[in-house]
């Protein structure tokens, strides 16, 4: 087990390096291939109709004309040894691991990521609990009562959940519950759990439910399909023939076997969401990692984009690792070595 984890962590570091190089390459090379010059990039850091003198100043300050290898080297050096940045009257040191400095926001990347991460974590974790409980629960019941009215209604709702995008359900839920029924008369705005746990949950209910609606629908269908397939297996018939109670057959035999694919998907889904629940955050105006990534891409803030991408990679790699470990727990046939 230990060797497995160490091996995977080394793999993760290699993955992060590759991802950082690819992201860097995309941001530097693609715009150039499309004809964008460093003058234009510099102009985006200046006001209306900047002079050539201003553009030259900006290029010099941000090192935009340096070769890509030099700029990437500077980024890697910052992670290992930290970096200095001039803010005008003085020089600011960004301690290692310095993931870069956002010239748009005038702040180091890492503290921004750490500031935004709790928003996304709160959103993803709460929604995950809801969709797992509701989605898997409905899936099981639907499978057991296949063809019943409940099954049909549940699957129709699930179909709607899968089909309706979050920016639609989010806006509609805000319009109905927040501004129409005045359950959230001032709208929703993220409050830190540490500041006020009740407000935290109150403000997150709508985003949680909206996000969970989509995923619960997916998981209900996935669980139902898995359960139906498993319930037709020979060993289930054997278990029933042995005279085991139906509850034992369902929970210990059928559900356990159906959980493996759900666990796989759940790990990846959660990892992706932790990297940024982009649509939910933008719809509800939450300043999480997803919103940060989109805003940074729109404003061409490469250091911030790099930071978000790397953090998202870490989440996905970690989530995959945890899922692999959990396989062994859920399915005794799996051995990590």
């Amino acid at each position: 087990m230990f060797a497995f984890i160490v091996r995977r962590l080394f793999g993760a570091v290699a993955m992060l390096m590759i991802v950082s190089m690819v992201t860097f390459g995309i941001f530097f090379l693609l715009p150039k291939l499309a004809g964008q010059t460093t003058d234009q990039l510099a102009a985006s850091y200046a006001g209306k109709a900047p002079t050539q003198e201003a553009i030259t100043d900006i290029k010099e300050r941000l090192g935009l004309d340096d070769p890509i290898a030099v700029q990437y080297g500077r980024f890697v050096k910052g992670i290992v040894a930290g970096q200095d940045f001039s803010n005008g009257p003085s020089v600011m040191h960004c301690d290692a691991p310095c993931l870069g400095y956002s010239f748009r926001n005038s702040e180091p990347v890492l503290p921004t990521l750490l500031d935004r991460a709790p928003v996304t974590l709160s959103l993803a974790a709460g929604a995950a609990v809801i969709w797992l409980v509701v989605g898997v629960g409905i899936g099981i019941i639907s499978a057991l009562r296949r063809g019943s009215l409940f099954d049909r209604l549940a699957m129709m709702t699930a179909l709607a959940g899968v089909s309706l995008p979050i920016y639609f359900t989010g806006l509609v839920s805000l319009a109905v519950f927040a501004y129409g029924l005045k359950l959230w008369p001032n709208g929703v705005a993220y409050t830190s759990f540490l500041d006020n746990p009740v407000d935290w949950a109150y403000n997150l209910i709508l985003p949680w439910v909206t996000l969970a609606f989509l995923y619960a629908a997916l998981y209900a269908r996935l669980t139902r399909a898995g359960m139906l397939e498993t319930l037709n297996e020979d060993y289930i018939r054997t278990a029933r023939a042995k005279g085991l109670p139906e509850r034992t057959v369902i929970t210990k035999h059928a559900l356990r076997a159906s959980l493996t694919p759900i666990l796989t998907v759940f790990g990846l889904d959660l990892g992706l969401l932790l990297g940024g629940a982009v649509l939910t955050e933008k719809t509800f105006g939450f300043a999480g990692l997803g919103a940060l990534s989109i805003d940074s891409i729109e404003s061409g803030d490469l250091p911030m984009v790099m930071g978000v991408v790397l953090l998202a990679t870490v989440f996905i790699v970690l989530a995959s690792l945890i899922v692999d470990i959990l396989y062994a727990v859920v399915d005794p046939r799996v051995r990590l070595n």
């Binding site: 900047p50 806006l171 933008k282 105006g285 805003d295």
Partner: protein
């Protein structure tokens, strides 16, 4: 492609959401605010009140360029900054065109010109304090101008002071590089409450430059350069408790602000909060349900919310169609044949179907009112006239053909029209122009370029214009300050023609126009100056160099939750943020 799909779906969702909100939306409550009719805030103060307290809630779908008063260029930012930054002068807190009047703010009175308008002296009010309790001095104002105009770090704001102030021998490098006490020699501070600006040319509108937040004092010891936007030292009634880029700003009362030093501000709310990067459709829904007070950007309701606001009588009463001080227009290059002949330019003036153009720009609401003058109505010096009338503004091909015959092109000709590829409405307007001119026999080929390069390499580079025979160019322009000079000088003064980054796209070169600008910079009588701007407008239109298309406007929404609401003509037709209160 994905972005477009998301945007379209968002719009659909927003429309449905807006409809659903309408069921539970607010209704008439019989207060003075609800009694106010549509467009009331264009000419009067709605919900006038001196009631203090509460939290004034702003939101915006994007972020600032920077809230640092010395490093920002957005009109909403200049408008809002007055809560925490007192510039030398500002605009009168009054609705309608009275708002265009410049009044003293940090200064005791407007500037005193001398030396034929090349020297401007201001007396700073005594007793004005920063939020740390120290008194504001003239040195803080001098430092603010130096840092905002002469450093390479702060590049987001305009550089008018750098343009107009006498430079040091060898060139002043700004206070971050030049640590000398003297700094820029052309700004003198003979005592703590006097500041003197020495200009390189007479400039009668220097008081307008004083309205820019760049003249709001910054204490040298507290300046943290590009980080100052997060550590702003306030000189206004509110201090900035926090600004988190991309997230929020929070303000609370500056305990050291003294109302006796500030006759302009009421300082009504206890706190002000700004939520950033919010969903625009949600912002509109929140405004209409009273869950939000102000959309900080001031650009009006998005397309999805407009039908709901205008389709319901109660909601419509909360709206104001406000004119911004910008103009969408097309320039005609006076240096490219056959447009070097005025009659050919006039043929285009008559041929353009402005109604189709307006539709292309988004209709009367989103696209604006049809324009016939270069100066928009909300800029001082505006006079209403139309030198090229046509029935219903739909163009007059017959008159256009008469002009074509006069300029020796009776069978028409072919020319090129440039537009910005990433501005779909501008592209649609260009196509409408293309169709209108075709009726008169002028064949137009549209060439589109990215907006980032439009002025530096294409339409704004005269050599490119000539070598590629660009006869026509799409353009939109807003004034940095709402006077005829602020609006016109950069687009029709021959001396503003630059080899790159040019904004006088038509390369208008009319001696009478240049002379009027020169005369206006030395004319201290505002009425006489304004008359000159009207003359410039007429001269340019007579020459036919510019085809005005629409005066831009926006559909604003004022919820019943706020007081002292009126449209600011000075700040591009958004609400005036100086004295808003919580009702």
């Amino acid at each position: 492609m994905k972005k477009i799909k998301i945007g379209a779906s968002l719009a659909v969702g927003a429309v449905l959401a807006a409809g659903l909100t309408a069921c539970g939306g607010d209704s008439e409550s019989g207060t003075s605010g609800s009694a106010a009719k549509a467009d009331a805030a264009n000419t009067a103060v709605v919900n006038a009140s001196d009631k203090k307290g509460g939290n004034l809630r702003y939101a915006m779908s994007s972020d600032w360029d920077s809230p640092d008063p010395g490093d920002t260029y957005y009109a909403f930012s200049w408008n809002f900054a007055r809560n925490y930054a007192r510039a030398l002068t500002t605009f009168k807190n009054a609705p309608g065109n009275d708002n265009l009047e410049v009044v003293p703010d940090l200064a005791e009175s407007l500037g005193t010109p001398s030396d034929g308008g090349k020297t401007w002296t201001y007396k700073i009010r005594k007793g004005v304090k920063f939020d740390d309790g120290t008194e504001v001095t003239s040195k803080d104002v001098k430092y603010a101008v130096e840092r905002s105009n002469f450093t390479s770090e702060l590049q987001l704001g305009p550089k008018y002071f750098k343009q107009y102030l006498v430079d040091n021998p060898g060139g002043y490098k700004g206070p971050y590089k030049d640590k000398s006490e003297e700094g820029l020699k052309s700004i003198e501070t003979p005592d703590d409450h006097t500041i003197v600006f020495h200009l390189n040319t007479p400039f009668s509108e220097f008081d307008y430059l004083g309205t820019m937040p760049q003249t709001a004092p910054v204490p040298r010891a507290k300046d943290t350069g590009v980080n100052y936007k997060k550590e702003i030292v306030s000189s206004g009634p509110y201090k900035v408790d926090s600004y988190v880029p991309g997230k929020e700003m929070k303000l609370s009362r500056n305990q050291h602000w003294d109302a006796s030093t500030d006759p302009l501000r009421k300082a009504l709310p206890d706190t002000i909060s700004v939520a950033l990067n919010q969903n625009q459709d949600d912002i509109d829904n929140r405004l209409m349900s009273g869950a939000l007070d102000v959309d900080l950007a001031g650009a009006g309701l998005a397309t999805a919310a407009q039908p709901k606001a205008l389709g319901n009588a109660a909601q419509k009463n909360h709206t104001d169609v406000a004119t911004s001080n910008s103009l969408t227009y097309m320039t005609i290059s006076t240096k490219v044949a056959p447009f070097d002949n005025p009659a050919c330019r006039k043929a285009v003036q008559y041929a353009v179907d402005k109604v189709s153009v307006q539709t292309g720009l988004g209709g009367p609401l989103a696209g604006g009112e049809i324009a016939t003058t270069v100066l928009p109505p909300s800029v001082t010096g505006y006079e209403k006239f139309d030198l090229y009338p046509s029935a219903n503004n739909a163009g007059d091909p017959a008159k256009a053909k008469e002009q074509l015959a006069e300029c020796g092109q009776p069978n028409g000709f072919t020319t090129t029209l440039t537009a910005r590829a990433d501005r779909p409405k501008e592209m649609a307007a260009a196509q409408a122009i293309q169709q209108g001119l075709a009726k008169a026999g002028i064949k137009v080929e549209i060439k589109s370029y990215p907006s980032g390069d439009y002025f530096t390499k294409y339409a704004g580079a005269p050599s490119f214009v000539k070598s590629n025979k660009v006869g026509l160019s799409m353009m939109k322009w807003g004034a940095d300050w709402p006077s005829g000079f602020g609006f016109l000088q950069q687009i029709v003064d021959s001396r503003s023609i630059k080899p790159a980054g040019n904004t006088n796209l038509s390369e208008t070169d009319i001696k009478a126009v240049d002379d009027l600008f020169d005369a206006s910079t030395q004319e201290n009588d505002t009425a006489k100056r304004n008359a000159m701007y009207g003359q410039v407008d007429k001269a340019v239109m007579e020459s036919g160099d510019i085809v005005p298309l629409t005066y831009s406007n926006q559909l604003l929404y004022r919820p019943d939750t706020i007081s002292n609401v009126f449209v600011s003509a000075a700040y591009s037709g958004m609400y005036d943020y100086l004295n808003l209160g919580v009702k």
